[in-house]
């Protein structure tokens, strides 16, 4: 499926059966990202199709406290 990784909107084609598999394939922690398809946030167990287009949003911010 077509994956767009924010904030730079880099595109990547990834084969994954579920959202959990997708994050694992990308080497990303589930607590550090949201996976969004057609404006909806997806839970880890959601099955993905080959023709899906999903976005991965990072949620981590750092710096001054």
């Amino acid at each position: 499926m077509r994956v767009t990784i924010l904030p730079d909107r880099k595109h990547q084609d990834v084969a994954a059966r579920t959202v959990a598999d997708l994050l694992k394939a990308l080497g990303m922690h589930s607590d550090a990202h949201l996976v969004i398809r057609r404006d909806e946030i997806l839970t880890r167990d959601v099955r993905l199709r080959e023709d899906d287009e999903v976005e991965v949003w990072p949620v981590i911010s750092g710096g001054a406290t």
């Binding site: 607590d31 946030i41 839970t43 880890r44 911010s61 406290t65």
Partner: protein, 306 residues
């Protein structure tokens, strides 16, 4: 996965609570968590005037949105740090939020009003841009709150922020900082406004999901000056642990606040605070840390342009 409230398909999983919510039920759960935190830690009441330190990021804008939804009187304050395009975009997000919700947004412009920017401080304090930025933010948020009569300053620090700070302080056994870390910093001087962190029990992912569902438009990219910050490395390390042991971050932080903090000795703000000879802000020294830092930066700038 199904929503634990209405059994519809879930959108947001909260693994550490073994819960999941649909987009309809999630904002209510989120706001209940914030209200419970405010009440449990006696942060403020509906009689208080709250100043929210906003950066344009998800946490501070989600906090502002939540407090307004909960019926609190909460204004925003944004500091123009002068970090090129990043500052301009984050300022625009804050202004758009204030306009959309009909709220007051106070602003301080470091360059126009004080003659320096955060990137200039970075040159002054090599390797510690975030520490310098933190000093600037704490100083101005407190000063504006005190001058305008706000009773409390609220920041968007979340569970991940607090766990990462704790991790760093434990790693280096900074017992002074450990004794100071907590969700409420009481006022110990008439010019020192109380500070609270109403999101400290909610994870970074929780606030991002709230912002997406409630359509809070925030700046997604990282501050360019935070690249390589230790806090980001600590968060990554803790998230690796969380992946294997859901709830690890929460147990680490809450366990510290319940048991560990007493063990290292809860620090009290010094009672012999005096006023800075330059700016009048509360400090333990003749000249406060903010004035010392900015004076050095300005001197260095003058020397380099002479």
């Amino acid at each position: 996965m199904r929503c634990i409230r209405c059994r519809k398909p879930a959108h947001v999983e909260v693994r550490r609570h073994r819960s999941a919510f649909c987009a309809g039920c999630y904002p209510g759960w989120f706001r209940t968590q914030v209200q419970r935190t405010i009440d449990d830690d006696h942060m403020f009441t509906h009689d208080d005037r709250i100043l929210i330190a906003v950066s344009g990021g998800k946490d501070s804008l989600a906090l502002w949105h939540t407090l307004l939804e909960l019926g609190y009187e909460a204004d925003g304050m944004y500091i123009r740090l002068g970090i090129a395009d990043y500052s301009r975009r984050s300022q625009a997000k804050c202004e758009a939020f204030a306009l959309k919700h009909g709220q007051t947004l106070h602003q301080v412009d470091l360059k126009e009003e004080y003659g320096f920017t955060v990137p200039m401080l970075r040159k002054e304090r090599e390797g510690k841009p975030c520490a310098a930025c933190g000093t600037v933010k704490r100083y101005h948020f407190n000063r504006v709150a005190a001058d305008l009569g706000y009773s409390v300053v609220a920041t968007g620090h979340n569970l991940d922020d607090e766990a990462a700070t704790l991790f760093g302080n434990v790693l280096h056994w900074q017992t002074d900082f450990l004794g100071r870390q907590g969700p409420v910093l009481e006022s110990t001087h008439p010019k020192l406004v109380r500070k609270v962190k109403p999101l400290y029990r909610l994870a970074e992912r929780d606030t991002a999901a709230y912002s997406v569902i409630e359509r809070v438009d925030y700046i997604l990219e990282e501050c360019p000056m935070a690249k390589g910050a230790k806090s980001l490395f600590y968060k990554d390390t803790l998230n690796a642990l969380e992946e294997a042991q859901p709830g690890a971050k929460q147990r680490f932080l809450m366990g510290f606040l319940k048991q560990g903090r007493e063990a290292v000795g809860v620090a009290r703000e010094p009672v012999d605070l005096r006023e800075c000879s330059r700016c009048g802000s509360p400090t333990t020294a003749e000249v406060c840390a903010y004035c010392r830092m900015t004076e050095r930066a300005k001197q260095k700038l003058a020397a380099s342009t002479a």
